[in-house]
Structures are given as C-alpha cells and as structure tokens.
Symmetry: C2
C-alpha cells in the first residue's frame, strides 16, 4: 500500500490497514459474535483504544471490514450487457474472480458466517439476492426472473459453501476454467432453459 | 408420542420429549454457541437441573437434539440399488423427503448453523459428505466419484441454504415435484455427464 504521508500522522494509514486486515481475518474466521475488538487489536498489534479511535464501535468495524472491494453492481455490468446468451458463463467468471481473490473473499465469507443470526440472514438475502442477482434477472429480461435467479443463486451459494467455506476437495482446488466449463451450462439452463 | 408408562415415573417421557423438542428449536435457530441449557429449560417449562438430569451436559443435549430421525445411510439404499440411471432424481426425492419434514429438518439445520465454528464445519464435511454422499458415489460405481459427488453436494447444499435456511421465495414454497423436475437433470449430469 503506497500512501502520501505528508500532512498525516506518520504510520497512521498502515495502522489503519493493519487493523482492517486483522478484522477481516477474524470476522471471516469467527463471525461477528465470535470476534471482539480486543482480539482484533491484539492481532493487529495495537491497543484496543486505537481500534475504537479509527473505527468507532465493533459494529462500525464490522461494516468497514465487510466493505467489499468490488461493487457487485459494477461487476455485473458485463454479465448484463452481453444479453442472455452466454450469461451463465459470464456470471460464473465474475463469481470466481470475486471469490478466488482473497481480499474480496474474506469480507464475503464473514457475511456467510453471519447466517447464524437472523440479521445476518437478512443481510445475505438483501445483499446477495436482492441487490446483486435480482437486478441481473431483470436486466436480462428473463421470464420469471425471480424464480430463475433463485435457481442460479442455489448453485452459486452451494459452491461458496463447499469451495470456500468447507474447503472440500477436489472442488476447493479446481482451476477456475474447469469450474466455468462445469457449471456454466447448468447456470445457462437455469437462465433460459425450460422450467417445469 | 405413545409410551408405556407402567414402571416409569409419570410424566417423564413427555418431559424428556418436550426438552428435546425445545432443544431442537433453539439449536436450529441459534446454533450451539447461541443456545444455553437454561434457555432450553425455560422453553420446555422445566428447571435447568432436570435438563441436566435427563441429558447431561449441553454438548450431550446438543448431540441428542442433533440425532437425525432418518439414518442417511438407510435412506440412500434405494438411490444406490437403482443404479446410475435415474439416480439424480432419486437423490433429489430422498433429499426433499428428509428436508421437507420438520422433525428431521430442525436437527439438520442446527448442523448447518454450526458452520461458524471449525468443529461444525468438520461435522458437516464428515457427516454429510464423507458418510452420506461419498459411499453413494462409490456404490454407484462412478468414475471420479469424489469429484462428481462434490458437484452434487454443491447443488444440494445451495438448496438447503436458500430453501430452508434463508427461506428465499419462490424456492422456499416450490412444490417438491417441481423441484425434482428442475434439479434432477442437473444432478444426473453431475453423476454421469461429461466432465471437463
């Protein structure tokens, strides 16, 4: 991380980044309930008061750590612009780009671990389904967009669980291209295949 | 629940059943970490000491509540005996029979909520993948059984998440026959279709 330090307290940007990185690791590993500000501070090698100084409450820190690097709405633009044809493959590629990248994966994993709490489930429903996949179904002009995008989601969420959360082999180590070839036809069928 | 009360303390079987039912509800809703013996006792309308008397520690209670009604290995016998042909549909039917039934669903949901903790993830990997799906892949004589059964698992786990845990519509209310018709061909492709 390169930053211009002129006019700022020395060390501040790196300390902030170190706290954020520690928070991401811990929230991803233990979820919101299982992570304390004190533990984040210890992992970052700073005092808990400094964490509060930079980020406020534990909830504020959680939200900052959760902040996804990729705006999912921007990421979905190439999926939408290409039309329905090949959209299954493009969704799969965007999905793997985001999830195979550790910096964007950790906050997303924290979101998934939040499913133990009702608020976390609501966040996943709203964040992933309503804000990301819902608009794609609309923009692609699908018939029954909600039903079709829910089928797509049911496959993507399962991949998240097995590849990234449970780390089940051989899925966890499969190269992205193999996964695209495996899952793209299935997603495409959910998008424009016959529905019973 | 009909029980023979001769020779037993009156009320005991019902109390035990009430505690188990309360434990299943609470573990399914809040997971292991978020559920206390005291809360289970309160929900069952008994004293916490009675819960300990019947079930021992909180871990013992958790295991008793987790005890799945259906032995998954028995449930999978019809899947295996029919051979590969149509196995995708039979897996889907068994899956929905187990998960659409509330008594067997609640302990399974508790298992899924356990994924926040490393031990819970291990349990899910061992319980669901190694004990249930792994032997099916072997018994069906699939080529690359682990790879294919992991693909099957990635779709089934996603359905669990959306239909039963996040309760996302229209998937949550879809009739079983519609889901069988939707997903069986996909599962069948994972079982005996070409792999990239």
């Amino acid at each position: 991380m390169t930053t211009t330090r002129r006019g700022r307290r020395p060390g501040a940007p790196d300390t902030r980044a170190a706290i954020l990185a520690a928070a991401r690791e811990l929230f991803a590993a233990s979820g919101h309930a299982g992570t304390s500000v004190r533990a984040v501070a210890a992992a970052a090698g700073v005092d808990a008061a400094l964490v509060h100084h930079y980020f406020g409450t534990k909830d504020d820190l959680f939200l900052a750590a959760l902040a996804v690097r990729v705006d999912p709405r921007t990421a979905m633009i190439p999926v939408i612009e290409g039309g329905v044809e090949g959209a299954g493959e493009r969704i799969m590629r965007v999905f793997l780009e985001v999830w195979d990248d550790e910096e964007s994966r950790l906050p997303l994993l924290a979101l998934f671990r939040g499913i133990v709490e009702p608020g976390g489930r609501q966040l996943l429903r709203d964040g992933f389904l309503r804000m990301v996949l819902g608009p794609v179904g609309q923009a692609l002009g699908l018939d029954e967009p909600d039903r079709r995008m829910t089928l797509v989601a049911s496959q993507l969420v399962g991949i998240v669980m097995l590849r990234y959360l449970l780390v089940v082999e051989p899925l966890a180590s499969a190269p992205p291209d193999v996964l695209v070839a495996t899952y793209a036809p299935v997603l495409q069928g959910y998008l424009d295949g016959p529905l019973p």
